[in-house]
Symmetry: C2
Subunit: 581 residues, 2 copies
């Protein structure tokens, strides 16, 4: 396949999964890291290098065995890499310049900002003093994030400065580190995209995913992210823009914040395979690990595609950490669609990533159902205060305050074609009037059957409570969606230019036993929206009660309106009554 | 996960893929085979055993390092395994008894026959003489298969005795081997099922696949096999019955012949992972390799499922052999949905399995489209006669004569419910009258949406040329199938108990621009069948011409029928004319 030997700086789990991918392509790898590290265990073809990836001499030794050097961690000695690249003895991918830019998070942010890539506003701290931090507080307001510029990961080296009173604690926690400050980003979700950058700078991406963190460590990854297609696409473009601004080839992990107003900001980049891309091993034709190897060696990567997503990629990844990892892994063997990946690591210290499980399913909803027992098993292991004290980094971070979750839609109005919008928008107006979040989009059963299936299969996972589907003509959309998800589906027959909408009505209403569609009158999307509201109102929750009250008021307003007419008609007499349109 | 060490007899590609799966579960493995063999390359955690899996001393040495012994090849010394199992020093899975039964193909066949498992009729040769082979010829007729009882694989050790005149050549080719004879099985396809046998004897299976051989070596595997669901299920049951008759745990490859009359016969068993199950790595949640490890260690395997199939498993596997392997592997990097697996083997001798490629797609049709360039690349490398002479086993086998392919349906009549059958069977009768193979089945858009999608997506790959879909009421089936496959779809509105079938007619006929359904009159499945025949007749092929002639005759018969009435009416006068029902 390729006779060049790849040297990998770092032999942790990312290195191990790189080696696994390399074996499948008969590619030679040599690892630099501590003896018996994860990646070394699975390659008996070479004598590996024992030592540190931040030691120039060890890197030099590795370079002598290899043709191409790459990294599975960014905390490496980039001077050694710079010299090696200059000497032309060995290729370095991605470039040392990229690794150095990313290594220092403040330099990284400045680089992104100067390339017009949206990222949180940052200030260099320069001198670690209270005066400087107070100064930043005046500029950014509180809370703001104080972060170590280097060697920070999994929340280690981050501190939330919640107000002037917490400045001294923050300085105490991070005093010996080079620092910078970041303006607070009030996000509703964290998203990530794995981007593959080819030798020629062209970028292609895996799907946008959502990452869920717990105690600053990635816990879950949802692929694709349960956000609208518009946001998924926006995230992909932003990630690619960021990676296009760098140098050299490889995969890049791009972490982003989805703000409450729908805007996206880059959080940080990783110049290597990333935790948020583990799921690609099981859910994509080519994993991020193989993609990285192909990119750094200039091997082809599906030359004819513009994306590495497949319509059937629905996966959830769960990291398994610390002492309970084996219990969770064993439990996963009983779960349909689950694949276990353990890393061959030694001591299962608290918070240490020992492996992960990916559940692949026909939909995110199904994956959520399958993975829940595993999340329960992982959560069952709670840290006692004594155990928490053992965690060396526990003092250096503090969880950010809980942000309100994004106001996700609870009702979806879908229609087969934009020509249905004039009919359907009356329903959207009703929902808006009731203050209920809804989305309005086009899903065509006949022209986008896969999109329809994805929509229906994901509807529950996305938090939808009812679906209003408008369709004209053969009008298959409501019935097909109802066949694929057991949420209440409300069908609105849309009157076409022929047959007066009777065609659509029959198509929607004449469903077989077992698959109901709540059909309303032809063109009557108002009633569809009201029916959706009645469904939501049935729920015993603050929202349910709120809607119930509003519906009661709506009904009584209607009644008042009619009663006013009753009075006018009865008092004035029918002869004098003029019907007001 | 499990602290026991697994010893593997054999370190070829099957062993390598077992080790890969073991690493993901932190399971320890030790390999017995030649130095640097495929499997050893990817495990640096242990010193492996250099030696032969047929050498009792080497097996003894391996046993000292392990808790459980298993095999990746059946040609091992079973006496050594028997003694080890008896000594209770180590567990042997599957049992030596299973391996010994399978090792000798005549014993294997006798075992299956005595357990009531359908297999080709076999006779032991006993003395390798012309007289005995002539005797067998009189019993079995010609051709029959002469096979080596032991150490035969990939066609090595098989000889087709085409008539009495070829007996001396057959004896010459196989003279030094213990032989048996098999009655000729005139098969239309070769199928295979991977069965997992748990410790408790319970069997669960992967989907039924079709294997395609070229020069007696497996070339392609189609998963699932393009045969009807009824045959898939029958194959699964037969395979499980065969494996249930054995002893111990592990995965088993079960190869079968699908005869022209639809019957199935077991060809042979393998007590280990099998070439026909490679695709499970990429297309199933748990690969055959991991399933084998879980079975032999008694670890859970999706305790709640009865099958390892997923509805979205659609894959084709191509073995890549000999000197051209690297060319084909590199080409595969450009193919959407393709995953390359190379085995780290040394010299790429002709016919040697160097790796495989699996293409996973949304349907078999799509997988076929994607993999075709790779098959072309593999086929482009043709053996010259000089090269053929180099192949040591070329003299010992002969390709079986080509069998006619199964009479697969070319028209499918589907309906949403069995209540549509009285209407739809008229169409089936027309097709039968025309001698056109058709299938008649139930596919419900609303009650079996996944089955419908699978049906539609596979329709082209299965060789269908037209689909007749009958449906009543909301009648979504024809339109949805037309949305998912670009074959001509003919819709038959079925009159229900209300609305006189107008509902179905509207639902079927009012399709949007871009997705046509050829709609015929309410309840008129006869016309639907005739339309399908017209479609087939448009094809420039022997079948097309045959149908064209029959259609012409059908039309002229209709004409004659009417003309007879014309004559009777005109000659007898309208007053005397009685309408015959």
């Amino acid at each position: 396949m390729d006779s060049r030997t790849v040297g990998i700086l770092g032999g942790g789990q990312l290195g191990r999964m790189l080696v696994e991918a390399a074996h499948r392509l008969n590619l030679q790898t040599v690892i630099l890291d501590a003896p018996k590290s994860s990646a070394k265990q699975i390659n008996a073809l070479h004598a590996h290098i024992d030592g540190s990836f931040s030691d120039p001499k060890a890197i030099q030794k590795l370079a002598e065995e290899c043709d191409v050097l790459t990294v599975e961690i960014e905390h490496v000695d980039t001077k050694a890499l710079e010299e090696l690249e200059a000497s032309s003895k060995v290729e370095v991918q991605p470039s040392w310049k990229t690794i150095r830019t990313i290594q220092d998070k403040y330099v990284q942010k400045s680089h992104l900002a100067s390339n017009g890539v949206a990222t949180a506003e940052s200030l260099s701290v320069e001198s670690n003093t209270s005066a400087r931090l107070e100064d930043i507080g005046r500029k950014f307001g509180y809370p703001y994030m104080l972060k170590s510029r280097t060697l920070a990961y999994d929340g280690r080296g981050n501190y939330v400065v919640s107000g002037p009173e917490s400045i001294s604690d923050a300085l105490e926690a991070l005093k010996d580190r080079p620092l910078y400050a970041e303006k607070w980003a009030s996000f509703s979700k964290e998203l990530a995209v794995m981007v593959v950058r080819r030798m020629d700078g062209v970028c292609i991406s895996y799907p946008t995913v959502e990452t869920v963190h717990e105690e600053n460590i990635c816990k879950l990854v949802y692929a694709p992210a349960p956000v609208s297609g518009v946001i998924q696409e926006k995230a992909r473009k932003l990630a690619e823009k960021a990676v296009e601004s760098l140098w050299g080839a490889g995969v890049f992990g791009v972490e982003m914040f989805l703000l409450e107003d729908g805007e996206l900001l880059i959080n940080e980049l990783a110049p290597r395979p990333h935790n948020s891309g583990h799921y690609t091993i099981d859910a994509c034709p080519t994993s991020q690990y193989e993609a990285h190897l192909r990119a750094i060696l200039g091997l082809p990567l599906h030359a004819h595609s513009t994306s590495l997503a497949t319509p059937s990629t629905h996966a959830i990844m769960l990291n398994i950490l610390g002492p309970s990892y084996d219990t969770v892994a064993r439990k996963a063997l009983e779960i349909k669609g689950a694949t276990v990946h353990l890393y061959g690591k030694g001591q299962a210290k608290i918070g240490r990533k020992m492996g992960h499980v990916t559940v692949v399913a026909g939909s995110i909803a199904e994956a959520e159902y399958q993975i829940q027992p595993l999340i329960n098993a992982a959560d069952a292991y709670k840290m006692s205060p004594a155990e928490q004290a053992k965690v060396s980094f526990a003092a250096t971070y503090s969880s950010p305050p809980k942000c309100p979750s994004a106001r996700d839609p609870i009702v979806s109005i879908i229609m087969g074609s934009d020509s249905d919008l004039p009919v359907m928008k009356a329903g959207a107006e009703i929902l808006k009037k009731f203050g209920v979040e809804c989305e309005v989009t086009i899903v065509s059963a006949h022209r986008t059957p896969d999109r329809m299936a994805t929509f229906a299969r994901n509807a529950r996972a996305r938090g939808l409570k009812a679906i209003i589907a408008g369709a004209g003509g053969a009008a298959h959309l409501p019935g097909m969606v109802a066949a694929m998800v057991t949420l209440p589906v409300i069908g609105v027959p849309v009157k076409g230019s022929t047959l007066d909408g009777v065609d659509s009505l029959h198509s929607i209403v004449q469903m077989p036993r077992g698959v109901p569609v709540a059909t309303v009158a032809i063109n009557n999307s108002t009633n569809a929206a009201l029916l959706a509201l009645r469904i939501v109102s049935a729920e015993n929750s603050p929202l349910g009660r709120e809607i119930r009250n509003k519906l009661d008021k709506y009904v009584s307003d209607m009644e008042s309106e009619v009663m006013a007419k009753v009075e006018r008609l009865e008092s004035g007499g029918w002869e004098a009554y003029t019907v007001k349109k």
